[in-house]
Symmetry: C4
Subunit: 276 residues, 4 copies
């Protein structure tokens, strides 16, 4: 965030607060972030353990108390974040703003509707903040390289996913006709669920083919699923390799025709022939 | 399809109809395709839900009615397609022509043979039309890049699949001898089915080895299946990387300095600046 | 096989027989090979079906008769192969020679020891001959590219497999201590078998952890196995990519110092500076 | 280890012992290492079999005796290693020093605490020594190439693992709310365990969704897990390809024609022939 976006003239305390709460460059900011991530981790584990019914009552009561302490701390943190930014509404409607709110809301709602605490696990999303601490810029650029590779491959991935979905629907319908309800294939949606379980090589075994024809079709689907994973693998590999190995291209523009995209070793513009 | 292939002089209404029904470039054509894809999706879900027996009778009756409405609409669409093309037989025998017919036939057949509605899920194949809508040319070229990579690797893939099939047959026969019918390996085909389930890492668990020797052989097959997936992955990766990184380079030599290696779109020698 | 290796002067009928039985270049040789592969496929399916106990007696008797016919034909073929080569012992001890013998032996042995027919599935190995028919040279070069890539990566693959084996042994022992016999982990070898089933993502479910600590350790092993598959994938991919993308190197030797390995675009020897 | 680090003047017998016990270059050293690896393998198998309860008492007693013999031999070996190095403490606190101690300790401890023998499987770690025998330098460089590729990708791998962990936590909590204890999802940690089993495509089937909504969410998680494996695959592939294809190129410019891009081992400019 540049100085233009956050004029310090208006309120120096706000700029200082912003630096601590939102940035991780200063020692205070880093300490704040580390504390926060530890708190989030503890809060997620607390929310998960709270659902375990076999724990003794004393432990469960302790977890409930911890829950309220975490919620209080996160509520204060949410307030500080709202205070420290120039435009609170913009933060409140951003991705992390919504997540920060959802992280405290369920505890208060649980006073009205019991059972909603389980939603507290949404706090896990806040762990994404962890990347801010560990060499911020470095990690974010990695994540962006990933995102860019995925974006460039999205057409191929769509083709792949559509193929998978069409295949499991067709095979599901065929298995419903072959196996029938007596082997657990009680409907086409159920058979399609089985086809997904099989094609992704998960294979629970809660439903499995009982007839010879069904086993033959299942075998074909397994080999298809086992082999198909190659295709997207190859796709993304190629995209990433392409990005990593891109032939060096000069950023120099031609002084005569102003076109760019020359090779790093070019001495003349390949478009108009002017010397570079 | 170029103007030569579809002369508008013969019947302007047919050219217009063709543009709407088969193309996605005009607003009307795009609207037609979007409506069609939504209808197909709804029809597939309807056909799937119809097989769920636990639904109340009223819902089931509604689904049957919806089924007939979809079939009527698709029949009309099939007629329009036949009308709009110059050579109806050629369309009727094409891939999409056959799929379009199969998408309506089962409903009519169900009057004669009850139960054939389940085949309606073949309508899912029509969803392949979806690629026409979303940036047609782009998606098709992606699909073709995939197909080309697969075609170039087909020799290696054949070697891979043959190796897998021979391995599961041999291991299946060995497991039948080792485990025998008392552990579920009732015949060699059954044991081969188990070997496929194991080697593809699906692992239902409906049959699993009971003796120490059987578990040892199963462990070897698992590690083989776990490692073998590398080979085709590497193959297709390499093919795609090769295609992606092949930047078009002209074979033209510079008339002035005789150097080669110019980009396909270069108009001047990048070394001496002479016109190519 | 060159003329030097198989002098036709000695016995023209042998050379002719060799061409039919061992080669696939002449129409007769190709017809012989296609017939053979069809026979092998039929014989493998026969041997597999023979083990299915639920077949009616008449079908089973038919299969036994077919079995003897296939064995007679393969015995004649084995004799022809021995006759057609100059050095029968060399063929008899080669890979295919042994497989050809093993393909007929079990049927004769079954007269002495009933049950040995199941070994007939070893005939599946003969299917490797199929590659001779379909564009022989092309397929073999593909298989060799695969073999070369695997050979070059064998050091990395050994490191990978050793890591997997050591990991499953350690985790197996730990799970035996954590879970104990009451959850099916009756011994360290049994727990190691479970660890292999889990790490390779097969997951039968015949044994699965019952305690919280066991489930935690199992989760770690699953994530490790799920992630580890990346490493060999990357290895072989890189090897194959390297082979496919090798930078063009001239085969020209320096006229002055006779060293090779110059770039395709080099004009002077990079070792001694002499003009190429 | 260079001569500076291990002065032979101090104690020639120690240098000689060191060469046998720690190196694999001399015939004696190699013989020592091969013997050791065979002993370790036998000891690991012994420790594993000892836990099998169904073995007859005589065999079990034999295994216990073998156990003590192996422990005695490894104790002597540990002593020799301590003797042969200049700084015993440094060896004792190194990775292999600790492993060597842990390999003998449990047997002695079993006199005090019965059951601790199972820890003997930690001896498997000593098998890592095997790499010293088989072309030492070659294998270690391979392992280092692997380690370097993993290290360079560690940022991307962290992003990937964090995404997986956050996904299974969220889906686990959602499944606990959807399915509830009646289908085996007794708590959020249990549901998270199920999500890991599903996302890694292991799929035991000890817990599986029972409701339609649960099956839908499970299907999404399976397809996600099935597709996600692409991402790290692509990452590491790209890293390894990058390393493999980086042919060392000198940054030196030709003193005569000033062109760059020479190989690191070039002694003359490949363009004009001038000495570099």
């Amino acid at each position: 965030m540049t100085e233009q976006a956050r004029p310090t003239s208006a309120a120096p305390w706000r700029a200082r607060l912003h630096e601590i709460v939102f940035e991780a460059d200063t020692p205070e900011g880093r300490a704040f972030d580390v504390t926060l991530v530890v708190l989030i981790l503890a809060a997620v584990v607390t929310a998960m353990l709270e659902s375990v019914r076999s724990l003794p009552a004393a432990v469960h009561d302790g977890l409930v108390v911890a829950e309220w302490i975490f919620t209080a701390l996160f509520t204060i943190e949410y307030g500080l974040r709202l205070l420290s930014v120039q435009r609170p509404l913009r933060y409140a409607t951003s991705f992390f703003g919504v997540v920060d709110l959802l992280a405290v809301l369920p505890t208060y709602l649980s006073l009205l509707f019991p059972g909603s605490q389980s939603l507290l696990v949404i706090r896990a999303l806040r762990l994404l903040r962890i990347f801010r601490i560990l060499k911020l810029a470095h990690f974010l650029s990695e994540a962006q390289a990933l995102r860019r590779a995925l974006l460039q491959s999205r057409a191929k991935i769509t083709v792949f996913l559509a193929t998978v979905l069409i295949a499991v629907t067709i095979v599901g319908a065929a298995m419903y006709l072959i196996e029938g309800p007596e082997h657990g294939f009680t409907s086409v949606p159920m058979a399609t669920y089985w086809a997904i379980v099989t094609m992704t090589t998960v294979g629970y075994g809660d439903i499995s083919p009982g007839t010879a024809a069904g086993k033959l079709l299942a075998s074909l689907l397994m080999v298809l699923g086992y082999s198909l994973i190659i295709v997207p693998t190859g796709i993304v590999s190629a995209e990433m390799a392409q990005q990593a190995m891109r032939r060096p291209i000069s950023t120099q523009a031609c002084p005569s025709c102003s076109r760019e995209g020359h090779d790093a070793d070019a001495r003349h513009c390949k478009w108009c022939g002017a010397a570079l």
